[in-house]
């Protein structure tokens, strides 16, 4: 993918984030956030992380947006204004965090660097042994469900427990 297209997608990402934060109409904010998730998915796909892109597209752009819309149905499309002091404190923290990340970003390994720590630790072993050990050509699936099975099991428990908790809380007011 050309640099120009990537730059355009990144600019779109920032614009959508600003819309999602500043929109007075929360319906617009929810849709902008969904579009943000979709642009994120395109960027992941452009970087070759297709499994992550797929998840971002269905969860970030799809499921989250639907849940936000359903929540808006129960509440209101208008947001209450922020207290102005809190607003400045939040802006200060955001700018400081952004500046800190920018300052250290040059120390990170180049994207796709084969000598980067992430590429020389356990990744080569997974890539070499996945097919002989699990007969699964998609190494991402084998890492998620087999080599890292504990993480995925606990992740699934977290998702279910969180969902169950919200489901029970929302059901209370019906009684």
């Amino acid at each position: 993918m050309s640099e120009l297209l990537l730059a355009a997608l990144l600019a779109l990402l920032v614009a959508l984030a600003l819309i999602a934060i500043h929109a007075a109409d929360l319906l617009l904010a929810a849709i902008a956030l969904g579009a943000y998730g979709f642009v994120m998915a395109l960027l992941w796909a452009a970087m070759g992380a297709v499994d992550v892109a797929f998840t971002e597209a269905v969860v970030g752009a799809g499921a989250t947006t639907v849940l936000f819309l359903a929540a808006l149905l129960r509440t209101s499309r208008r947001r209450s204004p922020w207290p102005s002091r809190l607003r400045w404190i939040a802006a200060g923290i955001a700018v400081a965090t952004g500046a800190a990340i920018l300052a250290v970003s040059s120390a990170l390994p180049q994207w796709g660097d084969p000598a980067a720590p992430a590429s020389v630790h356990v990744s080569p072993r997974y890539l070499e042994r996945t097919i002989p050990e699990t007969a699964t050509p998609n190494a991402v699936t084998a890492v998620l469900a087999d080599y890292r099975g504990y993480d995925t099991l606990i992740e699934t428990i977290v998702i279910f427990t969180a969902g169950l908790g919200v489901w029970l809380l929302l059901g209370r007011e019906r009684a």
Partner: protein, 145 residues
């Protein structure tokens, strides 16, 4: 409350699309071994097909097909399927989640392949059921009612 959409185009299109979306969800799960996808993505697509039904045909249409309480119990069954796939190798003398020791009449490599499929199915069921139950609860009331 979400009412049935007025347009016959929308309702007909959604009725036609729903089974295709559900079939695609199963494909994404089953083909996760060979291409991007797996239980998580498949589960969300499966849930999305039910949400789409509710958005286009009204919430009653979803209620007729899905019982919320059964649905959340199915989600728990998904988590238990994952945990059971982890526990089964313990019975056969292996470690927790070591699928090569699954008590199945296949080679250890094939058993790991099947083990991945079982846990991915568990993830799919858990994710889809949790999301549909949540959506049912969120969508059930009038604003401010």
């Amino acid at each position: 409350m979400i009412e049935r959409h007025d347009s016959v185009i929308v309702t007909t299109f959604v009725k036609a699309l729903t089974p295709l979306a559900q079939l695609f969800a199963l494909y994404v799960l089953a083909h996760g071994h060979y291409s991007p996808g797996g239980g998580f993505q498949g589960g969300v697509i499966l849930a999305a097909s039910y949400v789409l039904l509710a958005l286009a045909l009204g919430r009653e249409s979803l209620e007729r097909r899905v019982n919320e309480r059964v649905c959340i119990a199915v989600g728990a069954a998904g988590v238990l399927l994952y945990a059971a796939t982890g526990l089964a190798p313990l019975v056969a003398g292996g470690n927790f989640l070591d699928y090569s020791h699954l008590p199945l009449p296949v080679s250890p490599v094939r058993a790991r392949y099947l083990g991945i499929l079982f846990v991915e199915t568990g993830v799919m069921v858990a994710v889809a059921a949790t999301m549909v139950s949540l959506f049912c609860r969120l969508a059930e009331r009038e604003p401010g009612a």
